[in-house]
Subunit: 162 residues, 2 copies
Amino acid sequence: MKTRNPTRIEADPDLPVIRIIREFDAPRERVFRAWTDPELFVRWIGPRSIDTTVDVWDARTGGEWRYTARDGSGSFEMGFWGSFHEVRAPERLVQTFSFEGAPDGVSLEAMAFEALDDDRCRIVATSVVESIELRDQIVASGMDVGVVEGYEKLDALLESEA
Amino acid sequence: MKTRNPTRIEADPDLPVIRIIREFDAPRERVFRAWTDPELFVRWIGPRSIDTTVDVWDARTGGEWRYTARDGSGSFEMGFWGSFHEVRAPERLVQTFSFEGAPDGVSLEAMAFEALDDDRCRIVATSVVESIELRDQIVASGMDVGVVEGYEKLDALLESEA
C-alpha cells in the first residue's frame, strides 16, 4: 500500500486567503477531469458522511454550478453554488463558491494543476475572501475534514480508474 | 447645476482589497438596472475616450458577461469578462472580473446598493484579489480615471432618464 499523499491546508498569516496543496498519483489531465466532469465530481467531493447530487453543472468559462450535500439520515442538507470564471484544461480552474449556511459569503478560488514526473501532479488551490474574519470562520467550520476525506476518495477513484 | 457626487476609491492598508463608495441622485432600483441592463451599461461604463460593445451578457445568478472597449482611433482594444456570481435586485451584485491585459488576474467584486433618503442611493463596491501586489497593479493601472468618468456619465444618464 502506498504512503498517503498529505494535504496541506494553510491560512495565510497576513491575507484573507486559504491555500490547499495536494499531490495526486495521476496525471493532471485526469485530476482536472475529476474536478469538471459532474459524474466523477460527486463520487469524491466532501466528507465521507455526505452524499452529493449535482443540480446545475456547466463546466466552461462563464458557466455555473450548484450541488446539494446530504447525510444518510436526512437530517443534514446544504446547497453550494457558484460560477466557473475560467476553465482552462488541464492547468487552471477559477471558480466562485458560496453555500447556504452563509449565503452572503463568497470565495474566489483559483486552482493550478501542475504536472509532476512519473505521471503525477500537484494542485495548488488559493481561495480569497474579503475579510480575515470570514476566512477564519471558514477555517473553523470544519472544512478541513471534507477536504482531506474528499481527496482520499479522489485518490481511490483515480486508482480504480487507472 | 448640482454639486457633483464625489467618488471615493480606497486601497485597504492591510488587505488586497479596493473599495469604491459613490452616491447617486437616483433610487437604487434605477442604478441597479443601469449596472445589469446591457443597453444602459454600455452608455456609461469606462472612461470618456472609450466606446464599449457587449459581446455576451446574461445578468442572472450564474450568468456571464463579456465586453470590448475601443478608442475612437482604433489603436486601443481590450476585452473584459467575468461571471455574475449573484444578481439580487436591487441590493446586491457579485461578479468576477478579468481583462486581456492580465488574463490570469481575477477580481471578485461584491456591490451593495443602499437606499438613501430623497430617492438617492449609495453603492459600496468591494473588490478583492489574491495578493497585495496584484491589487497595487490594478490601482496603478489608471482604473480610477475610468471609474470617475464612468460614474459621471452614469449621473448624466440617470438625469436624462429621470
